[in-house]
C-alpha cells in the first residue's frame, strides 16, 4: 500500500505537467473507437494552418477523465481543452469561450441546443460543443431471430414484447440469455422514463423513486430470475462498477442488447460479417418509447493560460466541415444542426452501420421530455449510481426490491446532504 501511495503522489506531481506553456494548447482526449486518430489528423491540419499554435493531444483512458480530471480541476489546474461526459456536474470549471470565438452566433445557432447540458443552471456562457450526441437504444441479432423463426418486434413494441420475442429466440437457439443491458444506471433511465418516471423533483432536487422506476426495476429483477436477462452483467460486480454487455452480443450469446449509439462503430468492427444486426430504437413503456440522449463534449477549461489559442482551436473544430468529417469518420451522431440538415456520408463498408445510424437519428424524435431534461440536470450521475448499486443487489438476491428502493432514496438523500455542505 505504501508504494502505491508514493506512486500516486508522484503521478499527481507529474500530471501537473499538463500545465501548458504559452502558445501550447493541451487537449485531454479519450477514445471509444477511432476518434483519437481522427482528431489527431484534424489537429495536424489545424497546426499546418496555424503554425504559431502547438496543439498537444493527450489520448488517455476514459477512467482518467472520470476519476483524475475532476481532482485536477478542483486543484485549479488541468489541460486547456478536455473531452468529457460529466458535463453538467463539473460545469463550474468550464471556460466561457464567448470573448475568444470569431462568431458566437454561429455557435448558438448550430450547437446551442445542448449548451444547457454543459453550463450551470441559469448561465449564458458558451462552454464548448458536443463532439457527438449519443442516444440509448437497442440492437437485435437479426440472424438469430431469423434462425429461430421469430419476427423482430416493430417500432411500437413494448419491453415485455421484446423480452418475450428474444426469449423465444433464446429457447430456440439454446442461448445463455435472451437479452442484456449494460450495467449502468444511465442505461436503465430511459426505460424508466418510458414507464412514467420523472427523476427531477421540486427545486430541481432528486425526487423519491416513483412508480415508473419501480415498475421497470421490478421487471428487471423478474427477468433476471427467469433467466431472460443475462445475469453475469449486473450481478457479477458490485457498487457502481461499469460492465458493458457488448461482448455477449458480439459473440451471439444474446438476441437483444440495450446499449447506445456509441456502440455502432465497435459492433461493426468486432462483428464484421458474422451475423446481421439492426438498431431498433428504444422499446416502449406505458408512456413513451424513449431513449436517453447524452454525449461527450469538448470544453475549454477555465484555468487555461492561453484562452485565445483555445478559442481558435475550438472555432476550427466546431466548423461545419470539420464536424462533418469527424462525424463521417467516427460514425457518431452529430450535434451540429447544420451537419444534421445536410448529407452525412458515414464512412463504412458495413451496410449494418448506415442503417443503424439512421435508425438512431430517427429515434431522436422519440425522446420524452423527462429524458431530455436529464443531461442538463446536475443530479443525474448520483441518481444513476444509486440505481445501479441497489438494483443489482436486488438482482443478486441480497435485497428485496422494496428494500432496494428505500436504499436508493436514502443514498440519494445522503448525497444531496453532503453536497449542500
Amino acid at each position: 500500500m505504501q508504494i502505491r501511495k508514493i506512486v500516486l503522489a508522484l503521478t499527481a506531481g507529474l500530471m501537473s505537467s499538463t500545465v501548458a506553456f504559452a502558445g501550447d494548447v493541451r487537449v485531454m482526449w479519450y477514445s471509444d473507437g477511432v476518434e483519437g486518430e481522427v482528431i489527431q489528423d484534424l489537429l495536424n491540419r489545424f497546426m499546418e494552418q496555424n503554425p504559431d499554435i502547438n496543439v498537444i493531444l493527450d489520448n488517455v483512458a476514459y477512467q482518467v477523465i472520470q476519476e483524475q480530471l475532476p481532482i485536477e480541476l478542483e486543484a485549479g489546474r488541468g489541460p486547456d481543452i478536455a473531452r468529457v461526459t460529466n458535463i453538467k456536474t463539473l460545469a463550474d470549471h468550464w471556460l466561457d469561450l464567448t470573448p475568444y470565438l470569431a462568431d458566437p452566433e454561429y455557435w448558438r445557432t448550430n450547437l446551442g441546443a445542448q449548451f444547457d447540458w454543459m453550463r450551470p443552471d441559469g448561465s449564458e456562457i458558451i462552454p464548448g460543443f458536443m463532439t457527438q450526441l449519443t442516444l440509448t437504444g437497442g440492437f437485435a441479432n437479426k440472424t438469430l431471430f431469423e434462425q429461430a423463426g421469430v419476427e423482430i418486434p416493430g417500432a411500437e413494441a413494448t419491453w415485455d414484447e421484446w423480452v418475450e420475442a428474444a426469449g423465444k429466440v433464446q429457447d430456440s437457439q439454446q442461448l445463455n440469455a435472451a437479452f442484456a443491458i449494460d450495467r449502468s444506471g444511465h442505461r436503465i433511465s430511459a426505460p424508466n422514463v418510458s414507464y412514467g418516471a420523472n427523476y427531477i423533483g421540486p427545486d430541481r432536487l432528486p425526487a423519491p423513486v416513483d412508480e415508473g422506476t419501480k415498475t421497470f426495476a421490478r421487471k428487471l429483477v423478474e427477468w433476471t430470475e427467469s433467466g431472460r436477462m443475462n445475469k453475469d452483467v449486473w450481478v457479477s460486480a458490485a457498487g457502481t462498477t461499469y460492465r458493458a454487455a457488448a461482448d455477449d452480443f458480439i459473440n451471439a450469446q444474446i438476441a437483444y442488447y440495450y446499449s447506445g449509439s456509441w456502440q455502432v462503430a465497435n459492433l461493426s468492427t468486432k462483428i464484421g460479417d458474422a451475423f446481421d444486426w439492426v438498431a431498433t430504437g428504444s422499446p416502449c413503456g406505458t408512456v413513451a418509447c424513449s431513449g436517453l440522449p447524452g454525449g461527450a463534449a469538448l470544453v475549454g477549461i477555465k484555468y487555461t493560460k492561453n484562452p485565445e489559442e483555445v478559442g481558435k482551436v475550438m472555432d476550427y473544430l466546431a466548423s461545419e466541415d470539420v464536424v462533418r468529417e469527424f462525424t463521417e469518420r467516427t460514425l457518431f451522431l452529430p450535434a451540429h444542426k447544420g451537419v444534421i440538415a445536410g448529407e452525412i456520408d458515414f464512412q463504412s463498408d458495413d451496410p449494418n452501420v448506415k442503417a443503424a445510424l439512421n435508425a438512431f437519428v430517427k429515434a431522436t424524435g422519440q425522446v420524452h421530455e423527462n429524458a431530455n431534461a436529464l443531461p442538463a440536470w446536475k443530479w443525474g450521475t448520483p441518481v444513476y449510481g444509486a440505481l445501479v448499486t441497489r438494483i443489482s443487489q436486488a438482482m443478486a438476491g441480497e435485497l428485496s426490491i422494496d428494500d432496494a428502493f428505500t436504499r436508493i432514496d436514502e443514498d440519494i438523500k445522503a448525497q444531496v446532504a453532503e453536497a449542500s455542505k
Partner: protein
C-alpha cells in the same frame, strides 16, 4: 550526530507517510463533496457516527451504511477463512518441500511462481478460468458434468476469492516456513528416531513447537494482508455477485474515488478504522519479533 543521518529518512517518512496520514485523519472529520480539504466543512466525528449508525450490528440491513457493514462482515469472514487456509497450506507445502524430493528446486519454483505475478494478472487468469464460459466449465462439460457459473453464485464466488488469493501468495509463506523447518537441526530428528518417536508425535512435540516463531510471523503477516485484500478480488469478481465479495478496501475506494456517490470524508473515516485494526495487528507482530529476538540463540 545520529539525527543527522536519520534526517533524510525521517524527511521522506514524514512527507510520504505522516503527512498523508494526518491529512487523511483531517478528511475523516470533514463533510461535503469538495475534493480539496480546504474547501470542505468540518463536521467533527459525524462521519464515524454515520458509519456506526446501526440498529443491530449483526444485521447489516439495519445500518445506515449497509455497504460498509457488508464490507466489514465480508472481510471478517474472508480473514478467518483465508488465513486458516493460507497458513495450513503453507505449512503442508513447507513440510512436503522439506523432504528429499527429486527436482526439489523445481517444485519450490513452481510454488513460488504465483507470488511473482502481478495481482491483476492473477485475477484475470482466474477470471478466464472460472467465468461462465471459462476453462473450468469447459473441462467440466467435456467430462460430462454440469457447468457452474462460479463467479455469479454467491458462495462459489467467495470461495474463489479465498482460493485465488491463497494460490497467489502461499508460496511466499511456504518459503518462510521452509526456512524455519530447515533451521531445525537434523540431529533432533535422529534423537527422536532413537527415542522411538512416532511421526505424528515428532510433528506435534518437536517440529511444531520449534517452528512456532515462524508460524506466528506468518500468521500475523497473512492477517495484515488479508484485511487489506483488494487487487485480485476486484479483478476477479468486482465485488460481486451482488456485494458478496465486497471487501473493505474496495468499499473505501468506491466511496472515496470511483463511485458517483463520492464521499471522501466517509471513505477517510472508514480507512482510519481499517488502519486502527491494522495497527493492532502490527503491534502484535512487533511483539512477536521482539520475543523471538530475546529468545534467540538456543
Amino acid at each position: 550526530m545520529a539525527a543527522f543521518f536519520l534526517a533524510p529518512n525521517m524527511l521522506i517518512f514524514g512527507v510520504f507517510v505522516l503527512f498523508p496520514l494526518a491529512v487523511n485523519i483531517a478528511y475523516s472529520m470533514t463533510g461535503g463533496n469538495a475534493l480539496f480539504l480546504t474547501n470542505r466543512e468540518f463536521v467533527g466525528l459525524d462521519q464515524y457516527e454515520r458509519l456506526f449508525d446501526c440498529g443491530n450490528y449483526l444485521d447489516r440491513q439495519t445500518c445506515r451504511e449497509d455497504l460498509f457493514w457488508t464490507a466489514v462482515w465480508n472481510t471478517s469472514a474472508f480473514v478467518v477463512l483465508q488465513v486458516s487456509l493460507m497458513v495450513g497450506v503453507a505449512l503442508v507445502t513447507a513440510l512436503v518441500l522439506n523432504r528429499d524430493l527429486k527436482a526439489r528446486s523445481f517444485w519450490r519454483a513452481v510454488f513460488f511462481f504465483p507470488v511473482l505475478l502481478s495481482p491483476v494478472v492473477v485475477g484475470l487468469i482466474w477470471r478466464w478460468i472460472l467465468q461462465r464460459q471459462g476453462l473450468l466449465n469447459f473441462g467440466l462439460y467435456e467430462l460430462g458434468f454440469e457447468p457452474v457459473n462460479w463467479l455469479v453464485e454467491r458462495n462459489w464466488a467467495f470461495a474463489a476469492a479465498v482460493g485465488v488469493s491463497v494460490w497467489a501468495h502461499v508460496g511466499f509463506y511456504a518459503l518462510i516456513l521452509l526456512a524455519g523447518l530447515q533451521a531445525i537441526p537434523k540431529e533432533l530428528y535422529e534423537a527422536a528416531e532413537m527415542d522411538g518417536t512416532k511421526p505424528g508425535r515428532v510433528f506435534w512435540r518437536i517440529t511444531l513447537p520449534l517452528l512456532m516463531p515462524n508460524l506466528l510471523v506468518v500468521l500475523v503477516l497473512t492477517l495484515i494482508r488479508a484485511v487489506q485484500i483488494f487487487d485480485e478480488v476486484y479483478v476477479l469478481t468486482g465485488g460481486g455477485p451482488g456485494t458478496s465479495t465486497l471487501f473493505l478496501t474496495q468499499y473505501i475506494y468506491e466511496v472515496g474515488f470511483a463511485s458517483h456517490l463520492r464521499n471522501p470524508g466517509l471513505a477517510s473515516a472508514a480507512s482510519i478504522l481499517m488502519g486502527l485494526v491494522l495497527i493492532v495487528l502490527t503491534l502484535f507482530q512487533l511483539g512477536i519479533v521482539r520475543r523471538n529476538d530475546r529468545r534467540g540463540g538456543k
